[in-house]
């Protein structure tokens, strides 16, 4: 259900814009394209005010007034100059582009670290998921907007507005200053649109200079969709239908994305649809033609309604807990004590095997999963809920839950799993003689085997350290077993210490480490194992190896493992479940022991601790972490889970199809293939591209989160920002971002949003200018063209100014705000006797790089850039990132995360694989000599023109 709330929320926010469009397009009969600019104006004003510390709600009010001013501007142009409405709108919209830029100061203003209006809602959240809660709040807001608009349209002023749009002649005849009414209507409309812009900026977490593009189209689409759904002409329905239209539009987009439709087609669909409807409404004024088109119109309406029906039914289908009801739906409850590796593995294996046994959640089974997060009180609450919930069967994972369950639930069949010893908790007295409603899978770690494993790697073992929680019966049991084993051995002494909570673990570990121990031997204990990180630190620091029973802990730095593979526990439990559901009495099903063992070693830890290990010592191990961190996993778990459904899904999100982004992607994918990662980590990589559209980008980001990807990889700053806002949990690795600090993702290299890390790639300005000096010892002047609208370009120019001075150049600059102006700018610089031409990090120039290079080559001016591939477009020399390498490096970070490192612990480093590309053919033509020293540093040479 929650999946769709993001779309609903966007729909409500954009509905303000739809109401604005309704006021102009439907009420005033005026297709106002100003909204493409005023939407951004609202976002820009709200964002910049918030960064200045203004209250977010006040910022929205000011955004509204700013929007009104833009509408007044269009109104004045339209009425005073008597030019067509469309042209008036275009004029103002284009002017607004510059104004918005001035307001923002740069092309993108991030808001991630600032409060937004949505934070106001948070304290009152009664415990709903954020998106759901926002939806509740926004619905109220939407209802207010609806009522206010309808009431306004019924006032004398509102009537006048409507009559003016309806029939300006009649309006004039009743004494209305029609010009004033147009200005007023445009002001209100653009005010609302700007308000929507302000909201959307706060919702998505940034304002961007481009975000308004297509606003008119979306507004019209919303109005038209709403109109098609509701045929009534009543005022309140008309406004309501605009709101619904906006929401439906977002749902359709979300649905289309969800179903895997390409965003490009979506845009085409929207514009064709709007075009058709505009056309039809035009001919509908002409009766004869209308007759002809009426039939077709019906078809379109039918088509649209069926699209809606499909998405609505999809929505219902997706959200209903039972998709296809069969004769009998089994209610199965899973209760787990805490989040820890072996319990999780048990559950996953159980679920997987259930699937194999054809118990499918949502079809013939309803599987409810509850986790007590390590708290006994919660366990009891959960059990209360289950007792009254009419479940057919309960799976209890771990000893504490089982212990509580067999006391509380005496009628419901219980299967336990991953319980060390069911006999000490009173589940039975032998495998066959047990409580009538209880059966399950168990097994304790054979303490002796764990001790022998420890001794095989630590031959001089005299003292072994152990921690346990005396409050848990299974911990005490496991400890006792170890005590016995050690007593039998006779040569080793046990240094045991009790702990009561995970916060005590580190202290206790440190204390024991002082007691001259040669190894930690940790018997299974929920608290100790879940706080293992703390022990691992002490262990590594003191070079005392740790041995335990949970293979998951090897990655965290344990040395050796002897334990059960709890996958078996889950599988066996699932098979028991089937027998019970098939009618076998649990009483007659004997307890079973787990039937799979894991032996593991971490050679990386061994190396760090300087403990020598010979291959024959681990020849029969089924889980090995090699010195370089790679894992050889032959456990049942790996074979059962990883190969099937625990594949890891990676969303690879590029904002557009620009060359650097596509190069990054290619580098990333090539390396994935080269290293065979798809197989090794069982990766599934889904590529997403927003086609340079912000609203689509937003939907893509929401879609990634709701589709529960395991990892997110983004290339480009906008993709990074969109995902950073939408997601604070899924590990997210970014690349091809010039400056993540400016983008608001991180304060410092180490202090960044927890789930996000990656690499920054700043243009190598200093080395480029140094190189220029080397190649041209006598050059005096560098010409540079850049677009002040691009934050990145501005930063590069700033640096160039500094280093030009350092290397003794004079810098002359010219600005270009679009690709067409680039030529003029270059020509103006050519008139100023420049020796070298340079551009860096500027997208506008990069769009025209071919022709710029040609222009410069004709005038014998060497052209340097920071985009590696520009030599292929005719530049003289480039120092740039090989974005394929940037992509590959981004993958390296992902691999570190896949191997268990946490994103929050990976600092954001600058990665600039500096490569020089030299156009030797051009140099020869220009008769420029390049020294051998320089040639040596060149990594790629172009030899023919």
């Amino acid at each position: 259900m929650e999946l769709w709330f993001g779309a609903l929320n966007l729909g409500i926010l954009y509905s303000l814009m739809a109401i604005g469009s309704l006021l102009t397009y439907k009420i005033l009969n005026f297709a106002d394209i100003t909204v493409d600019g005023s939407f951004t104006t609202g976002a820009a004003v709200a964002a910049i005010l918030i960064t200045m510390g203004v209250d977010p709600s006040l910022s929205l009010i000011i955004a509204f007034f700013a929007g009104m001013i833009t509408g007044i501007a269009t109104g004045i142009v339209y009425t005073w100059l008597r030019i067509s409405g469309l042209l008036a709108g275009i004029l103002v919209m284009i002017g607004l582009y510059s104004i918005n830029l001035h307001v923002m100061g740069k092309s993108n203003v991030p808001l991630l670290q600032f409060p937004t209006v949505f934070n106001y809602f948070d304290p009152y959240n009664p415990g709903l998921a954020n998106e759901v809660w926002y939806f509740v709040c926004l619905s109220v807001f939407g209802a207010i907007a609806w009522t206010a608009t309808v009431l306004f349209l019924k006032t004398d002023l509102g009537l006048t507005l409507r009559s003016t749009g309806n029939n300006p002649e009649m309006s004039k005849a009743t004494g209305v200053n029609v010009d004033f009414i147009y200005i007023l209507g445009l002001a209100i409309s653009n005010g609302l649109v700007a308000l929507a812009g302000g909201f959307v900026a706060q919702y998505q977490g940034f304002a961007d200079i481009q975000m308004g593009i297509g606003t008119l189209m979306v507004g019209l689409a919303s109005v038209i969709i709403g109109e098609t759904v509701f045929k009534s002409k009543s005022l309140s329905i008309m406004v309501f239908s605009a709101i619904v239209g906006s929401i439906l539009y977002r749902l359709i987009i979300a649905g289309a994305l969800y179903a895997g439709m390409n965003p490009i087609d979506l845009k085409l669909l929207t514009s064709v649809f709007v075009l058709l409807t505009l056309f039809l409404s035009k001919v509908s004024n002409d009766r004869n033609q209308m007759q002809k088109f009426k039939k077709n119109f019906k078809w379109i309406a039918i088509g649209l309604v069926s699209i809606l029906l499909i998405s609505v039914s999809y929505f219902l289908y997706d959200s209903s807990p039972q998709k296809k009801s069969q004769s009998k739906v089994y209610k199965i409850a899973i209760v787990q004590f805490a989040e820890n590796g072996l319990l999780d593995v048990t559950r996953l294996a159980f679920l997987e095997e259930l699937k194999n046994l054809k118990y499918i959640d949502g079809e013939n089974a309803k599987i409810v999963y509850r986790n007590a997060h390590g708290d006994i009180a919660t366990v009891n609450q959960i059990l209360d809920e289950i007792e009254s919930g009419g479940y057919d069967i309960v799976l209890t994972i771990s000893t504490p839950v089982t212990q509580a369950a067999i006391k509380k639930l005496t009628k419901t069949p219980i299967i336990f799993a991953t319980v060390a010893n069911p006999f000490i908790i009173g589940a039975g007295t032998s495998d066959r003689d047990h409580l009538p409603n209880v059966t399950g899978v168990y097994g304790w770690v054979e303490a002796d085997s764990l001790l022998q494993l420890t001794k095989s790697f630590v031959p001089n073992l005299k003292n072994a350290g152990l921690l346990y929680d005396p409050g848990q019966s299974n911990s005490v049991f496991n400890y006792d077993m170890m005590k016995k084993a050690i007593a039998n051995d006779g040569k080793v002494k046990l240094q045991a210490m009790t702990i009561n909570s995970s916060s005590e673990v580190q202290q206790a570990a440190q204390t024991i480490a002082e007691k001259n121990i040669q190894a930690f031997i940790l018997t299974p204990d929920n608290i100790v194992y879940s706080a293992f990180d703390a022990i691992a630190k002490v262990s590594l620091h003191k070079k005392i190896p740790t041995f335990l029973a949970d293979v998951e802990r090897l990655k965290d730095g344990a040395f050796g493992v002897y334990g059960h593979d709890y996958t078996a526990s889950g599988i066996q439990a699932a098979r028991m479940l089937r027998r019970i559901l098939n009618g076998v009495n649990p009483k007659s099903i004997p307890f079973e022991k787990y039937n799979s063992i894991v032996k593991g070693i971490n050679l990386k830890t061994a190396k760090l601790m300087n403990i020598p290990v010979k291959p024959e010592q681990y020849s029969d191990f089924n889980y090995i972490i090699k010195e370089d961190g790679t894992i050889i996993d032959k456990t049942l778990k790996h074979e059962f889970l990883s190969n099937k459904n625990t594949s890891k899904k990676v969303a690879l999100f590029m904002f557009s199809e620009s060359k650097p982004l596509m190069d990054s992607r290619d580098g990333f994918i090539a390396k994935v293939k080269e290293l065979g990662l798809e197989k090794k980590y069982n990766l599934i990589i889904d590529e997403k591209n927003a086609q340079n559209d912000y609203a689509i980008g937003q939907s893509v980001a929401n879609d990634i989160v709701r589709s529960k990807y395991d990892y997110i990889v983004t290339f480009s700053t906008i993709a990074l920002q969109l995902c950073a806002k939408a997601n604070t949990e899924i590990p997210h690795i970014f690349g091809t971002v010039t400056d993540p600090f400016v983008a608001g993702i991180a304060k410092t290299k180490a202090d960044h949003q927890k789930n996000i890390t990656g690499i920054s790639t700043f243009q190598p300005i200093e080395s480029t200018l140094k190189l220029m000096r080397k190649v041209f010892p006598n050059a005096k002047t560098i010409g540079m063209v850049w677009n002040p609208a691009e934050a990145n370009s501005e930063a590069c120019t700033e640096r160039t100014r500094i280093f030009a001075k350092k290397f003794g150049f004079e810098l002359v600059e010219a600005n270009a705000t679009n690709a067409n102006e680039v030529h003029e700018a270059v020509k103006s610089l050519l008139g100023k006797k420049i020796d070298i031409f340079f551009t860096s990090g500027d997208v506008t120039v990069s769009l025209a790089v071919n022709s710029v290079a040609k222009l410069l080559a004709d005038k014998n001016i060497p052209y340097f850039t920071n985009t590696f591939s520009d030599v292929e477009s005719g530049a003289f020399m480039t120092v740039g990132a090989d974005y394929q390498e940037v992509g590959a490096e981004t993958l390296n970070i992902l691999i570190r995360v896949l191997d268990g490192e946490k994103t929050e612990n990976i600092s954001i480093e600058n990665f600039m694989p500096e490569k020089i590309y030299f156009n030797k053919a051009l140099a020869e033509k220009m008769k420029i000599q390049v020294s051998d020293e320089v040639l040596k540093s060149v990594s790629k040479v172009r030899t023919n023109l």
């Binding site: 019924k154 006032t155 004398d156 009559s163 009743t174 004494g175």
Partner: protein, 269 residues
């Protein structure tokens, strides 16, 4: 009530399609006058009405309404005194709005529009009463949008709208021309009724000689931007349709002559 002196208007002045539509109009209209205007096509009748209502600003001359000089005032300011009904039934009403809303808008003619909902039940009841005067069974359709009504019904509503708040001057520009004979007759009956009821000062353009003779106390004949003939109420009693048509025929004959010949012709008289 209205005094027009030496009024001139040229459209598209100085271009290839320059039209000299009004060439010095002088006329005085007294309180309570009901004037009918007849004239050839393109003689400037509509232009004269538009000049009075302020659709454009005249090139030369003066227009006074109630002794106030309104020559330079924009149309929406003159609407306070002047109500009008156009020939085209689609022009006088807002088709997307209800009958009640249209009447309400008309009732606010010349008043400022507030951010307040004033179309209440009291007003609605009043509009219902008024619409009943049309005898078209529209009383129960007050909340229907005008777009669903016939041309005759719309034009009747437009007429009602123009008199719902008594105007100082009522301008009617061939307001029955686009209707079928039955609807036209009904509309004329209503027009007469309202004008007599409120003693409205009225200027009405018509192409029907019958109407020109039957209605009003004065008739003006226009040709080529000039008033060429005025027929007083006394004279009207003596005229019949054929006489009027004769006059037209004469004008048409004259029209066939070139301007030079016309001048010669006049000089000879």
């Amino acid at each position: 009530m209205i005094k027009i002196t030496n009024l001139h208007k040229k459209f598209n002045e100085g271009t290839f399609d320059e039209v000299y539509a009004l060439r010095g109009i002088d006329v005085e209209i007294k309180d309570g006058d009901f004037i009918t205007i007849i004239g050839t096509n393109g003689s400037g009748k509509s232009t004269l009405l538009n000049a009075i209502s302020g659709s454009f600003i005249a090139d030369k001359g003066k227009i006074e309404v109630k002794n106030k000089d309104v020559t330079k005032k924009p149309d929406f300011k003159r609407a306070k005194y002047i109500a009008r009904v156009f020939q085209n039934p689609f022009l006088g009403t807002a088709p997307g709005m209800t009958i009640a809303e249209n009447l309400h808008l008309a009732n606010m003619r010349g008043k400022s529009r507030k951010l307040w909902i004033s179309l209440d039940n009291k007003h609605k009841a009043f509009y219902r009463e008024q619409i009943a005067l049309l005898e078209m069974q529209l009383e129960d359709r007050m909340n229907n949008v005008i777009g669903t009504l016939s041309g005759g019904q719309r034009q009747a509503i437009t007429l009602l709208m123009s008199v719902i708040q008594k105007p100082d001057v009522l301008l009617l520009d061939e307001h029955t021309a686009a209707l079928d004979p039955k609807s036209a007759a009904q509309l004329i009956r209503l027009t007469k009724m309202f004008i007599e009821r409120d003693k409205l000062t009225t200027i009405m353009i018509t192409h029907s000689m019958q109407q020109a003779i039957e209605l009003g106390n004065r008739t003006i004949m226009m040709h080529k931007g000039k008033i060429i003939e005025e027929i007083t109420i006394k004279e009207k009693a003596m005229y019949n349709v054929d006489d009027l048509l004769d006059k037209f025929a004469n004008i048409r004959k004259i029209e066939k002559l070139t301007p030079e010949l016309l001048n010669e012709f006049r000089n000879n008289y």
